[in-house]
Amino acid sequence: MSAVLRTLWGRSNERMIVEYHDDLRLFPTRARRAWLVFLVLAWIFLPAVWDRAPFTILSDNGVSLNTLAYAGVFAIASIGLNLLTGYTGQVSLGHSVFLAVGAYFTAYAGSTWDMPMWQWLILAPAVGWVVGALVGPFALRLRGNYLVVVTLGLVFIGEHIFRNWKSVTGGSTGTSAAAVPMELGPFDVRSLEIFGRQFDEDRAFFWLIWLVVGIVAWLVKNVVRSRAGRALQAVRDRDMAAEIIGIDVGILGYKTQAFAWSAAIAALAGALYAPLQLFIGPGDFGLLVSILFIAMIILGGMGTIYGSVIGALIITAMPRLIEGYSDSGIPIVGRLWGGGLPGVAAKTSDDGLITVSSLNVVIYGLLIALFLLVEPRGLAGIWVRIRNYFSTWPFSY
């Protein structure tokens, strides 16, 4: 017990790093450890209080626990994309395909072969890894714009396969993932029971998915601050120089590996996406989804892990909020024009300049453009600047 306490309440000031061991810690300061504890507590208790007072602002307007679970799935995928784009500098418009590979694998293996959960949780990323490793070598020969176009082609090829490999994917109509086994050890996600208490599916999915988010974030964070991560960042900054100082960018080298692992993480997200969504079809994995992932990492901040999570939360919650508020009206300010969002039709039958779904797409586009123009390092960049301002206050640096 005292060891745990000492770990949590150890050194107070981050500037006093005396041992190498201090430098290696993931949560070096008291404030960060407090933040970690806060996150764990939030993970445990948020489902219990989500429909109570301060959270009703969100939960009454469309951001349910279910939405948070979706945000978690996208957070996993965008951490994967950040590993590839933010840390290795390889742009991929094809990540929706890797998501789809994981999702279709889970739906097929779970329904047809009755594969238990712990197996598909391992095998879906493995399949994604293989697909990513097949695509990866293209990045060796192509750079910049050409790579963008090839990964774009991947989306079209993938969609064609999903529409036509009917025995596995169910064709254009899609396939059901309702029968996928969801028992992990003593816990059944579909009807969770802990200490004799029943919890509904939304809560179980929230706990499961955000647990996976935590594990993936922890793993990727440790990868990017190790030798492999430094190699990836060297490739990003100047791949030729990286090659010259001895970083392997050959056919089994870091570029291919980054593609493979990034695809594996996206496939893991897909594996969780299928049972959460219950029914998946080719429409769920179009170009727009890939663009959304890019929007998430741009908004959150490229080259940061927590940025991907924040970006995923915002990009997933925003459309639900817009939908919710265009129905119920913005509090206080909305009275000025009498409820709803001005010019937005909540349903297709309503009057208005633009429908909610169109407005969402417009906002995604504007967000991408705006952040790249004004703050290319995303919300994480803004946060770093605020932190630096206060930590050096009253001096400017």
Binding site: Y146, I354, V362, A369
Partner: protein, 360 residues
């Protein structure tokens, strides 16, 4: 043989369309080094402007094409100035103009009134912003990195698609063009007049571009800028003007491509930018920075796509596999992407593109 000729003719028409689209990409890429995904938005806008002028207003079709080309070129230049070069005063002007337009339309005025007042408001905002900028000292235009610029243009593409849908609706519309569905026959081959017009239109567009590129001052300046950015500035070439011209030309080409995609029996809808994505293999084949490659690549891909389409349904007798239904409907669209990947593996810079010299 008839089947082959028919597929060849249709492929040629499709290929000229691709060539026009790719030309738009190439022009921008040569000047600025970015792939302008917003070209898809420009194409949609061009098609709908032609529709609006020729159908809704009932003006002459050729006049409609001309107006649409002017409008889309303006849009394209504004996009470059505001988004890519980030000029503060123009951003302010455009945003305010859009806001005024939207609020007027929302209050029930017609689009024309909204646009007129929006333009006035935008110009006013531009003037004020220019004064402010002069007072506080202008921040020079800083350009985005390539990846950022690409993502910005993708963002713009999505916005334009939705705005077009908000104005003209999601439904399919038919443009009143002079060809409609009339056809001629040569032997057993059916030649759609709209397709012939597309080929001619593409030829005119391409010829015009080559004349500008080879013989005018601005064309030479564009090539010089592509060759060496800084040397061009040192020679007194205004890169601002070059970039604006490149985007403007791309806009004109996009309007022509949009019109040709709307002509004949084809209908227009806000999702017609798909054809822009299908033109990517053509661009890869020719190389990003070669206008000649755009033509060769476009026609090759168009022919290939139509031949695949024909022979997958009806394979020739010598072909070992008889039934190719398992490839699925619309396989020809995937086939061109597969071809693109193969070409990229053999020649990473296309057949006519300049190989990039990498230095440490």
């Amino acid at each position: 043989v008839t089947q082959f000729l028919q597929a060849g003719f249709d492929g040629l028409a499709l290929g000229s369309q691709y060539a026009l689209i790719v030309l738009g990409f190439v022009v921008v890429y040569r000047a600025t080094g970015i792939i302008n995904f917003a070209q898809g938005g420009a194409l949609i806008l061009g098609a709908y402007m032609t529709y609006n002028v020729s159908n809704t207003w009932g003006w002459n079709f050729y006049l409609a094409v001309f107006i649409s080309a002017v409008v889309v070129a303006t849009f394209s230049v504004l996009l470059q100035r505001v988004m890519i070069q980030r000029i503060f005063r123009e951003t302010t002007g455009v945003l305010l103009g859009l806001l005024v337009w939207a609020s007027f339309v929302y209050n029930g005025s017609s689009h024309l009134v909204g646009v007129l007042i929006g333009v006035v408001g935008g110009v006013g905002a531009w003037w004020v912003a220019a004064r402010v900028e002069a007072r506080i000292g202008a921040r020079g235009p800083s350009e985005l990195p390539v990846f950022g610029a690409i993502m910005v243009t993708i963002g713009v593409l999505f916005v334009v698609k939705q705005v077009v849908a908000a104005i003209w609706g999601f439904g399919e519309l038919s443009v009143d063009d002079p060809w409609e569905i009339s056809t001629s026959r040569v032997g057993d081959v059916i030649l759609g007049h709209a397709k012939i017009a597309t080929i001619v239109l593409a030829m005119i567009g391409l010829a015009l571009f080559f004349v500008i590129d080879r013989y005018t001052r601005i064309g030479i300046a564009m090539r010089a800028t592509h060759f060496d950015h800084e040397a061009a500035i040192a020679q007194g070439i205004s890169t601002k003007l070059v970039f604006a011209t490149a985007f403007g030309l791309a806009g004109v080409v996009a309007a022509l491509a949009g019109t040709s995609a709307a002509a004949g029996s084809d209908l227009i809808n806000p999702n017609m930018d798909l054809i822009v994505f299908l033109a990517f293999p053509a661009m890869i084949l020719g190389g990003f920075d070669s206008p000649g490659g755009a033509v060769v690549g476009g026609v090759t891909v168009g022919l290939f796509q139509n031949l695949v389409k024909t022979y997958v349904v009806n394979p020739p007798s010598w072909f070992p596999v008889e039934d190719m239904d398992w490839l699925g409907a619309g396989f020809e669209r995937v086939a061109i992407f597969v071809m693109m990947v193969v070409v990229l593996m053999v020649r990473p810079y296309g057949f006519f593109g300049t190989e990039e010299v990498r230095r440490v």
